[in-house]
Symmetry: C2
Subunit: 301 residues, 2 copies
């Protein structure tokens, strides 16, 4: 599976016997990404047989402990296991200082370089196989949602232009992999002139720790697969509003508004042992809904 | 079991599929203590059915991530579960600042009070059912070892003095529970005059993240039960010295030197899947040795 998502933690503020704090391992094409990193995320990845050295990008939605407390330990383990590859961390302002304080208090030296990038709403992060659009959620502290769009791995050739410019057919496969072309006279033709712009093939939206925001759904549309927090059932909507969280029903409303094909519910309050009622509530509004289950991997699109 | 120890995490710097970072849950008489709090300690306690709201004291040996990264999350979960009881944290200088930075970055408000106590070598911490003596270990950063001695729950009556002062026999049971006495003339006799000083009944030494220190063993002696780190086998003694850790053989030497009755090995390097060789190596020097196994609870004395 070239596009896949593994659930590492699905609990909200407090963990349960079977649910850890937030974490998702996302693979889109050649990009391996960790979405949030609650306490125990590295333990979950070990348990589920995920090689976390493959992760090159870490996106952190906000600075609440249940979304970041696994990060210092994971970064340290990567180093102790001899990582050389650089790592890119995208997170809210202040994350770098938290991590650096842990490194300095433990006199830790990392074997690899970390590039910190401060998230801002409206930002577009372009990686090898995807583009991530950053949105503002509405939580107790600054919090971001992500819409991640897959890019095709090879470009589409503009055959008409290639023929007109006399590009030899033997160059076509390299041009599709982003090489420039050479015409009969030996002139270099930039790749962009010979190919058709890359189009997304599918998108994954990660929306957690937020009040229900219809305007966010509209901004994100269209979405292929939506992960939306469903901390509470709608019977506790007052509590959801007070704590800046959402209900399963609202997650389903959001899915409808952003035109999603599929909805995944997660970030469940520890008060719920059984999550069937979350599923039932959401399905009443949006049929193609599933529950995030730790250790399960799904194909995205 | 009134005196018991549960192993929550037994791995050294990097966790494994089955071993988490350091943590022990210790119950001595009426005192419930957490010794170190690596990442995932709260998850382990949930898994093993430990009610962590009973913990009143947390002792932290040093500020390396594998001994503290579970602490911000645990403290937060205690609060989210409505804890009112105050908590006492004993740790190295700097711990309070690390925790407060997490609380402030997450805008967290705790429902209970934390009393921070900065550890110093030579310190004696007196709790309800125990006395903890604090020693200096030798690691890359300041690190402490603990010798925890149980105190009897009831005092021993000095019957001779009671009879001489005319204390009525009906008062004896209350005096053994620290009440003062009243003589025939109605005069209050302080409890200390009527009882014999409390003697320790057994002791537990917690020695981790340190080079082998014979002088520490001598200072700690005598010890009933010793937990000593055994990060490496003796074949890697050079690595142990370079990283300020110990071998299974050295742990056994330490046990002999401090006159322990029993030795528990822990803090194992992730390179070892099978720990039988650790056990064999230590038993060659000190027969009454066991391995710390996560989820197991043992009676101490």
């Amino acid at each position: 599976m070239n596009n896949r998502l593994t659930f590492l933690g699905t609990s909200s503020a407090t963990p349960t016997r079977v649910r850890f704090h937030s974490g998702q391992y996302l693979v889109i094409g050649r990009d391996h990404i960790l979405l949030d990193c609650g306490e125990g995320t590295q333990n979950r990845m070990l348990e589920f047989g995920i090689n976390f050295q493959k992760i090159r990008y870490i996106f952190i939605s906000h600075l609440h402990g249940d979304h970041i407390l696994g990060l210092p330990g994971l970064l340290n383990t990567m180093s102790l296991n001899g990582r050389q590859k650089e790592l890119f961390i995208y997170g809210p302002s202040g994350l770098k200082e938290i991590l650096q304080m842990h490194f300095s208090s433990g006199s830790a030296y990392l074997t690899y370089e970390i590039h910190y990038n401060e998230l801002k709403a409206g930002q577009k992060i372009e990686l090898e196989s995807l583009v991530c659009n950053v949105f503002e959620a509405l939580h107790r502290i600054p919090c971001f949602s992500f819409k991640i769009e897959e890019l095709r791995h090879t470009l589409k050739l503009n055959v008409g232009v290639c023929e007109k410019l006399g590009i030899d057919i033997s160059q076509y496969s390299k041009i599709k992999e982003v090489a420039d072309g050479i015409d009969k006279s030996g002139r270099v033709i930039p790749n962009q002139e010979l190919t058709i712009p890359i189009e997304p093939t599918g998108s994954y939206a990660y929306v957690t720790d937020t009040l229900f925001l219809s305007e966010l759904a509209m901004k994100m549309a269209p979405v292929s697969v939506l992960y939306h927090e469903a901390t509470y059932l709608s019977s506790l909507i007052d509590r959801a509003e007070k704590t800046f969280h959402s209900t399963a029903e609202q997650a389903a409303e959001f899915a409808k508004l952003c035109g999603a094909n599929r909805l995944i519910l997660g970030h469940f309050s520890a008060r719920y042992d059984d999550l069937e009622e979350h599923l039932r509530e959401a399905k009443g509004i949006f049929a193609d809904t599933i529950l995030a289950v730790e250790g399960q991997t799904i194909q995205l699109f």
